[in-house]
Symmetry: C2
Subunit: 344 residues, 2 copies
Amino acid sequence: MEAKRRSTRIYDVAERAGVSVGTVSHVLNHPARVTPATRERVLQAIEELGFVRNANASTLAAGHSRNVGLVAIDLGNSMFVDIANGAQSAARPAGLDLLLAGSEDDYETQASKVAFFDEARVSGLILAPMQDSAEQIERFRKHRRPVVVVNYDHKDPGICSVIVDNELAGQLAAEHLLSLGRRRLLFVGGDNPAIQPVHFRWLGVERALRRSGVQAQVEMQNTPDLEPGSGIAVAEQILGLPAEERPDGVIAVTDGLAAGVIEGLTAAGVRVPVDIAVMGCDHNTSAWTGRLPLTTVAMQGREVGETAMQLLLEELDQGPDHEHRRVVLEPHLLVRASTVGWNG
Amino acid sequence: MEAKRRSTRIYDVAERAGVSVGTVSHVLNHPARVTPATRERVLQAIEELGFVRNANASTLAAGHSRNVGLVAIDLGNSMFVDIANGAQSAARPAGLDLLLAGSEDDYETQASKVAFFDEARVSGLILAPMQDSAEQIERFRKHRRPVVVVNYDHKDPGICSVIVDNELAGQLAAEHLLSLGRRRLLFVGGDNPAIQPVHFRWLGVERALRRSGVQAQVEMQNTPDLEPGSGIAVAEQILGLPAEERPDGVIAVTDGLAAGVIEGLTAAGVRVPVDIAVMGCDHNTSAWTGRLPLTTVAMQGREVGETAMQLLLEELDQGPDHEHRRVVLEPHLLVRASTVGWNG
DNA sequence: TTGAAAGCGGTACCAT
DNA sequence: ATGGTACCGCTTTCAA
């Protein structure tokens, strides 16, 4: 028969230290309000007993939690890992902890994760969705806890958000190629309006062309997904064209696609970047194995996460009279060998 | 002056449905014990009020949580993402949720994450450490909650663990190359005993050589890290050798390294796999951009996660008389173009 | 089947 | 500076 031994509580500590529970609670939460001497005794009792405070009880009694949740729809994407790391590091100094939930998920699972954090009564939520999630967000906010939307431009001025300027990313990419004298551009990834980054990057490319004042053209090639395999397929299409009809500059909407394009082209003897310059557009660190260093546009995941957490802390701090902000971070161009120079 | 409005509680639901809180709790936790009619009324009240149960209070009162924590030292590594996904999917049917904490971490941060889950009173913990973590584990287990160690062979028979047979992985890799007639092998990654997978894979390679019965040799090349960049450096060293002294088969201890080696070799005109066959050893999905499909040894991250969660559930179920198990999963060879055939 | 009430482990206010 | 003590919101006997 097992004695159902409960774990040591604050009462046990109090008893052992010869003080009241209130005092123990104080040394845990407001050490300054306690005499160094008693504090020492309590600390020692805690140590001897191996006491670990129950965060559930603490959250319940205090009425607020020291955690914030992050729901990202795809943890396999390095952008989200960067965001998580950024948010984490911004949370720590404020005494908060970041909890990640789920991965490999669809919209429904995302909903269940949001609900999960809702039940856990986290202080706030950072959400990196792939589509409009207004309903999920509203449900969560009804409990008067802040939400910051990240990496998705959701248009609701009543919510803080942090995004990277995807249109600018596309523009920077196109301007880079134009500045290198490329005049026949191909945009790989397509204008699937359901995938925001893709859509906006394409708009940026168009804008760059319009503003450039040079005679240049850009075509768009849709792909079924954004993985290397599709890039290889596009490369094969390019190879099917007579040399004079081929693009001289390719902007792939993700680094993964770009990798595939380069793979496909170089395997067939096309020289990158001499014959065709190829660049990516998201600085997906974990997706680049580095045959040819890839020119890309860095999307600042870490900064996104840090900024999001700062907005969250701000809102937590200011309460109801907080003014929601929409922060737009600027991506920046990373020029490497896949568009300039020739190393092979 | 803000009315400090608290969120709707089970009491509110009870009142609205005209029942007692006990009954509401029952429809939440044991729906069968309640008349369909009352259940319906309660459910409706919940709906109308937008009630969301407070998981902290629930955990506190029930004495057990419906979450299990996963601490992985590097979320940027696809192996860990696979493990998380596997664990997640095994947890759901059991009514549990998986919480991930932290990333980009060192040993100390790992400790704080473990402590964090300890405070949260999760039902169990899955830990994917990079080094011996006996002390952290002990602290957690003192609270009588199960821990499963994953992806690290920690030798403690008192704890469940799931690992992939790294020695077998090395052996499979070497046997593959030997079967292709390669006789001058190079193992890239080195025998850093602090990094378990590297160490054991090397042992497996040696074993394969010993057992093969053919005249073959293998050398070992240490690298400062396991990233593509180091692979490129190794490629350059190889290129510095006279052709007849070069290896004809390379086993890189990670796919990232392998990618770098291939990059470096092919850029200099070496034909892979004709001149030199190159393979990786961890099936790091997110790190392969696919110039040349890479032969590798798949390390079954998803299965590791699923198995770990199953062991955890088992221990949760069986309580103190649970017998700890050490599950060793078998990796398997994935033969692709970087070792056989010739596509360019 | 449903209701009443005693906790679960802390927190924080109010006294002392 | 410390102690006493109502809760926090829910679960779970135990009775009715």
